[in-house]
């Protein structure tokens, strides 16, 4: 539970200003401001249905920002979504995996689409790292919930994004998986990556240096680490 010092880094990775989102007429987010510096981890808390996943979808460019400003690594995302996408990685509630492909083929497709140069050996190594070595030739549709989650998170070791977006990354993982994920995220932050995640699990987030935020009634507020356990 290391509190993160308020940073005033001159070049933040994410600058979101006055963002909002509506589903039809239902205004889910309004006037959202969020700044995240390199090496910083922002954790979004909030009740079910408060809009955390929606905010992450906006940040991931999955939803188009209709109003407000969104700079990612200095790029105006509304102008150049394409450039922005190359700099971020989003792993959401869904695993984005193809059931009829094996873990290896899934990762091959992922790296080739993003033109990340890798060899099969490296991919196998990554699959080993997330503890799926025994299932390396098994189509993903037969994986257990936690195994899918592990494979989805394995992408983190292949892409080297500036911004990482995670939606409830700890769900379905066992203790070992949580430990491994936290180690990976610590390295990622240490290397200057930025991380924004939604979670209901302050106990598990505690292992990372982070700054907590709360989403309520469509608005985002910074909170103190002490308030975390009530916020989620």
């Amino acid at each position: 539970m290391t509190p993160h010092p308020p940073s005033s880094d001159p070049s933040p990775v994410v600058v979101l200003e006055n963002a909002q989102h509506r589903y039809g007429r239902h205004q889910v987010l309004q006037g959202i401001d969020l700044t995240v510096s390199p090496g910083e981890c922002a954790v979004l808390y909030g009740a079910n249905g408060s809009g955390k996943s929606t905010l992450l979808a906006l940040l991931s460019t999955r939803y188009t920002l209709r109003e407000g400003r969104y700079l990612l690594d200095g790029i105006d995302v509304r102008q150049e979504p394409h450039e922005a996408r190359a700099r971020l990685l989003f792993i959401g509630h869904h695993t984005h995996l193809y059931g009829h492909l094996t873990p290896l083929e899934n990762l091959q497709f992922f790296t080739s689409l993003r033109t990340i140069p890798t060899t099969d050996q490296q991919l196998r190594h990554v699959i080993n790292t997330v503890g799926l070595n025994k299932a390396v030739d098994k189509p993903v549709q037969w994986f257990s919930a936690g195994m899918r989650k592990r494979l989805a998170l394995a992408r983190l070791l292949l892409a080297h994004p500036k911004l990482l977006l995670l939606d409830e990354p700890y769900s379905a993982l066992d203790t070992q998986g949580v430990g491994w994920l936290n180690a990976m995220l610590t390295t990622f932050l240490h290397n200057g990556g930025s991380l924004i995640m939604a979670s209901h699990d302050p106990e598990r987030v505690a292992a990372l240096p982070h700054r907590p935020w709360q989403l309520a009634r469509g608005r985002l507020h910074p909170i103190s680490n002490a308030q975390e356990s009530e916020a989620c």
Partner: protein, 222 residues
């Protein structure tokens, strides 16, 4: 680079399918069963068969394409895979062309195989026109699969999807169908008119393939 991405997306769909060997041959056999249905339903005699040949060819192509469209985005439905694809930093047009290419290749292969079969089964003597007929079929198929792929994208996740897809595709392709049927009929007759129909088909192709990637980009935006 972009070409490679198109190829990778098509590869995942087609080559992945062919490797499992099911798709192409089952599309072919499906086309044969469509022929059986036509025969059982209409029982054309030999004279009639020649007259019905262009229509038979196009109707079979159309239904084969239609039935194959569900497949185009099937793999993408599961567990947010399509979302993952959209978040890769490739332009939307590339994703569209990747999907289209896979669809096109399979449909062309089926046409290539089904034409001689139709000639044999319906006892039509048009062997010397085979290359010309194939060329016209291929020309029409470009636009047909382009439109089909777009509609498949449009109806992703819709309820009663197959019905909807069919409902949208058939009327939109009716003009192409007429042009295609007339062009082939023209070839089969000694003094038939072909050129204007081919021009029409080409125009449809160009329009659909120019509009589709752009429309696709709009469709997947949220």
């Amino acid at each position: 680079m972009l070409i490679q991405a198109i190829y990778r997306i098509a590869w995942k769909d087609v080559v992945g399918d062919l490797r499992r060997r099911a798709t192409l041959s089952s599309m072919l056999f499906f086309a044969i069963s469509v022929l059986v249905v036509f025969q059982a339903a209409f029982e054309p005699d030999r004279q009639e068969a020649l007259r019905l040949l262009p229509g038979l060819l196009w109707a079979t192509t159309l239904f084969t394409t239609l039935v194959g469209l569900g497949r185009v985005f099937q793999a993408e439905e599961e567990d947010g895979a399509f979302e993952g694809l959209l978040l890769a930093s490739v332009p939307r047009g590339v994703i569209f062309f990747g999907k289209w290419l896979g669809n096109l290749l399979l449909t062309l292969l089926v046409e290539l195989l089904i034409l001689p079969l139709i000639l044999v089964l319906f006892n039509v003597d048009a062997w010397k026109h085979v290359p010309a007929i194939l060329a016209i079929l291929a020309l029409g198929t470009l636009g047909l699969t382009g439109l089909g792929t777009l509609l498949a994208a449009m109806t992703r996740g819709a309820r009663s999807r197959e019905t909807l897809l069919a409902l949208l595709l058939l009327p939109l392709t009716a003009p192409m169908l007429i042009a295609g049927v007339q062009a082939i009929a023209g070839i089969l007759q000694a003094d038939g008119i072909v050129a204007p129909w081919i021009k029409l088909l080409t125009i449809f192709d160009l329009v659909y393939l120019a509009l589709a990637p752009w429309a696709f980009g709009w469709l997947v935006e949220e």
